[in-house]
């Protein structure tokens, strides 16, 4: 186990509702999410002395949020980031506290991901102005290849060819995550779906159908990290950070389609370090979360992080394996595919709530910390939720993960 294992904890989480549209600014939403996370932890503004955030030039800054909420920061940093930045910023927070830059750090993401700037193009259905293709975009937008779906689709197509997997495996993931969303009052889409529903849904970009793609929403979310000593005094039992990584591929640190295997991702190079630091094996993991921007990204994260061998994820997910009460429940809030899209944060938040045994589901008694574990009554709290592995991003340029444990583990 690593020297930092269990030394730092996640003590507060909070978010705004997933909406489309929010009719709010990213600053307003960020303030609410951070305030909710402070309330969740039982912390006052004067207790927070560090703040980090990530964005894709589509959000507000730590300075704005801290000013609005009356926080006085010893450390603040806003980065350009994507889907693996949540776990990376949590790891960064550990380093900052360890080095003495701050004592309690909030990491946030705020985005009008539906009504504001959308990734990879223009707004379908709206007026279509001329668009400039500059920088990287000269060599993708120029031939109509811009959206994350179009670009992940290229890796997915090659994956299907290389492994013999079919889109029925994609469907398994859509069905599992939607089932979890059906137990989540906050989720955008709560109607359960079947494999056939997936297979009949319309094409977006082959090999992806509508039900392979995440739900773009307007939302903000925040996570508070502090030391174990401070964590014990707060409102909820701490969730311990056992291990993690945030890194690029060895061969190719940035979008590069000449890399040897188009569907190899950074996780292939990180998980041994994370699991070694945590002192666990895959068998110790009770549930997982993954960056399900697309169904396919779940498959490659399972392989990249060693839950199954390369090329075998399609078989691995069959028969509802990723569903609650099966072998390896995944994305228990419904994830990006069904709950909404926070650019990676909501998985960490859900994992924290599950490890506290406080999943905010439709179960009538959960506010007292009691769960019926009765799925037909709307309960999505896992009975055995001691250790989880949260995996983020399915591309070569950055991957990350966090291994977390609750008090009982």
């Amino acid at each position: 186990m690593g020297a930092l294992t269990d030394k730092y904890c996640i003590v507060g989480v909070g978010e705004t509702p997933h909406l489309r549209p929010s009719n709010r600014t990213t600053l307003s939403m960020a303030c609410e999410a951070v305030r909710n996370a402070m309330a969740d932890a039982g912390l006052k503004p004067s207790d927070i002395d560090g703040m980090t955030s990530y964005q894709a030039a589509d959000s507000t800054t730590s300075g704005h949020v801290a000013t609005a909420l009356g926080l006085r920061l010893n450390y603040c940093l806003d980065i350009l980031g994507g889907g693996s930045s949540t776990e990376a910023l949590v790891a960064h927070a550990i380093g900052l506290i360890e080095a003495g830059y701050a004592k309690t750090i909030v990491c946030f993401r705020s985005m009008n991901g539906r009504s504001g700037r959308r990734m990879g193009g223009q707004i379908p259905g709206g007026p279509i102005p001329a668009v400039n293709a500059e920088g990287d975009n000269q060599f993708n937008m120029g031939w109509g290849w811009t959206t994350p779906a179009q670009r992940f689709g290229m890796s997915a197509m090659r994956y299907l060819r290389d492994t013999g997997c079919t889109t029925k495996a994609f469907a398994e993931i859509a069905v599992a995550h939607r089932y979890h969303a059906s137990l989540n009052p906050k989720a955008i889409h709560r109607s359960p779906i079947t494999i056939d529903d997936h297979q009949r849904s319309r094409w977006v970009v082959k090999p992806f159908r509508l039900l392979d793609c995440c739900q773009e929403t307007d939302v903000a979310a925040a996570i508070i990290v502090t030391s174990r000593e401070r964590a014990y005094d707060l409102r909820h039992p701490p969730v311990f950070i056992m291990g993690g990584y945030a890194r690029t591929m060895t061969e190719s640190p940035q979008w590069n389609y000449s890399r040897p295997v188009l569907h190899y991702v950074a996780g292939n190079y990180g998980w041994k370090r994370a699991f070694g630091m945590a002192g666990i094996t895959h068998r110790d993991v009770d549930f997982i979360s993954c960056y399900d921007a697309f169904t396919f990204t779940t498959l490659i994260q399972l392989e990249a992080n060693g839950f199954c061998r390369a090329g075998e994820a399609g078989e691995f997910v069959k028969g509802g394996r990723l569903q609650i009460d099966h072998e390896l429940p995944s994305n228990l809030s419904g994830g990006h595919l069904s709950e909404g899209y926070t650019h990676g944060v909501q998985m960490v938040i859900e994992n924290v709530r599950q490890l506290r045994h406080r999943a905010d589901d439709a179960c009538p008694d959960w506010r007292e910390g009691k769960h019926s574990y009765d799925r037909s009554a709307g309960c999505r709290q896992l009975r055995k939720a001691k250790i989880c592995c949260g995996m983020a991003w399915g591309w070569e340029n950055m991957g990350s993960c966090l291994v977390l444990r609750g008090m009982a583990a």
Binding site: G120, G121, Q122, P124, I128, P129, A130, V131, N132, A133, E134, G135, D136, Q138, F139, N140, M141, G142, W143, G144, W145, T146, T147, Q150, G153, M154, S155, M157, R158, L160, R161, T166, T167, R202, W203, V204, V205, K206, P207, S252, Q254, N256, Y257, S258, P260, L262
Partner: protein, 157 residues
Amino acid sequence: MAVTIDYSKLRILPDPDTREWWEAARQHRYLVRQCKRCGHKWFPPNIPACDKCTAMEISWFETAGKGVIHSYVVVVQPIVGAFVSSVPYVVAIIELDDCKEADGTVTRVAGVLTNAEAEVAIGLPCTVLFEETNDPKIVMPRWRISGEADDTWKFSE
């Protein structure tokens, strides 16, 4: 001809790293980047340093514009206005025949295919062609399937 792109809705803006590439395309030449120090080749050409040896002394390699389809997608829902009237269209990643390096690296490029979805498959050979656009400064390289192959794979719905 399946793809009609409206370049009045999509302005390509060459920059100091890419101006020569677009100029070569106007002359119907297809370039990839090449490192002057180690000879490594890469694409896209806006990357200004060699990812094998870090050299920034870089030049160009003029390819014959022939390769094999490594992967592809079929865009059904357009998201950039210039492509609204083109769907469904195929974008492919192509391995260039004349850019194979001793260590096994093959330079891959991306581009839109002129062929329809029904004809595309991984493993098929294709050739570049150059098309005038309604932007007089931009000639756009496209790719067309130019032969058959034994070992091909096609997406099955």
